[in-house]
Symmetry: C2
């Protein structure tokens, strides 16, 4: 059976307080086992996880970094407020957020939002995905799986791709430990970040500009075994260590 990937069209511009799960359910017949990917920015806006730039008072640290990155100090302050650790501050801020995700500008976004507003990443993205899943179950009576996506850069390669920020109803990684290849050898590559592979393709379907498709359904998707330890510990993360060393100079 082939996999079907369906962009949810016709959603209005989401406003704080909107019932996102209901708006999606009204536009597409969701089926049990579907994986629903939602742009985390749209989820955040629906729950009011936004800030008004004019209400932010930048600290001297934000002003210092803003002079390096050529950004609005209030925007930089919002990035600092969203971050649990700053890994680099120049030529752009790279930081970790409390969920463990590491990204540029802590995922704070001022595209696809009204002037003067910024959208923050969900503070508890796993809980956010679980809440969408629970809402769909309540509205439609079907148990689905949910991924919240964000658009991120990567090492060594130009261009952004979709990544999974939070997920519910599945593990983030598919674990092949103990499996064997076609020739019976035990596998060396044991973990596949399947939620990121799904989030990436969802991001392709969403488009990045004014397509207005912030939700994508994946149908006929298999079930896998695995775990949710998506983020390296500091000790394991060679690239994080190298970047921090370079920033010290």
């Amino acid at each position: 059976m082939s996999i079907e990937v369906i962009g949810v069209k016709g959603l209005p511009i989401i406003q704080p307080g909107d019932d996102l799960a209901r708006l999606i359910s009204e536009r597409i017949s969701i089926q049990s086992g579907d994986i629903l990917c939602i742009a985390s920015s749209v989820y955040s806006k629906s729950v009011g996880n936004i800030r008004q730039l004019s209400s932010i008072n930048p600290t001297p640290e934000a002003v210092r970094i803003a002079s390096l990155t050529h950004e609005d100090p209030s925007f930089v302050q919002a990035v600092l407020d969203s971050s649990s650790e700053i890994i680099m501050d120049c030529p752009f801020i790279l930081s970790q957020v409390p969920s463990g995700h590491i990204g540029v500008r802590a995922g704070v976004d001022h595209s696809n939002v009204e002037d003067g507003l910024i959208i923050l990443l969900p503070q508890d993205p796993m809980g956010a995905a679980a809440s969408v899943r629970a809402a769909i179950l309540k509205i439609s009576g079907v148990d689905i799986r949910v991924i919240l996506t964000d658009t991120c850069g990567r090492a060594f390669r130009r261009g952004q791709t979709g990544h999974a920020i939070g997920w519910s109803g599945m593990t983030g990684l598919r674990d092949f430990r103990g499996d064997h290849d076609l020739f019976g050898h035990e596998l060396l590559i044991t973990e596949e970040a399947v939620v990121d592979e799904i989030a990436g393709f969802a991001n392709f379907v969403m488009g990045e500009s004014n397509n207005g498709v912030p939700a994508v359904i994946f149908r006929n998707m298999e079930v896998w075994k695995g775990h949710d330890m998506m983020y390296f510990s500091e000790k394991e993360d060679l690239i994080r260590e190298a970047l921090k060393e370079c920033q010290k100079k």
Copy 2:
């Protein structure tokens, strides 16, 4: 119209000299505009881009690195031979290959291959994708698009995902420069690495162990504008620079 994603099932274990395009065409009705993703290891094996470990004489440098990485010196020699620049040699070899791709062990693979053999990345992956596209056109009379995929790690996150190594019939990046968001603001994020988003999801469908689905068709896929400058120049690549600095110590 929804997108259909179809794993090509029933392919035999590919051997050097096999006509991969014909074997795929015999198992699925390919349509004009389809995007066909193929695991680069399977392409490489079909064109004999493999080496026998016992025929490799490791240099002292390969022996030195192998003692650090706890690998077979002949395997390390194959990685060095495939690399245009070694970025790190410990705890694993991270290197650039002539096409510009940067990856662990230069993509040299000893899974899903007979004992004593290793599979190399295609030496000209863009040309390889173009040759598969031309072969499908000749066999089936349809003009399709082709992506060769490989499985790679990433920064900051555990687990591997599929990446595009070569592609034909499309640009690697979708370019939004000049586009505007829903509110009319010019976009800050201007480049999306769409071939990687597609390759990632293809890798999910392929599975990583003994599923034996090395080819995946994407149907009803839009056409986009963009460019093929996938790899950062050395000067732009902050992470590469940071890793090289750390290796010097």
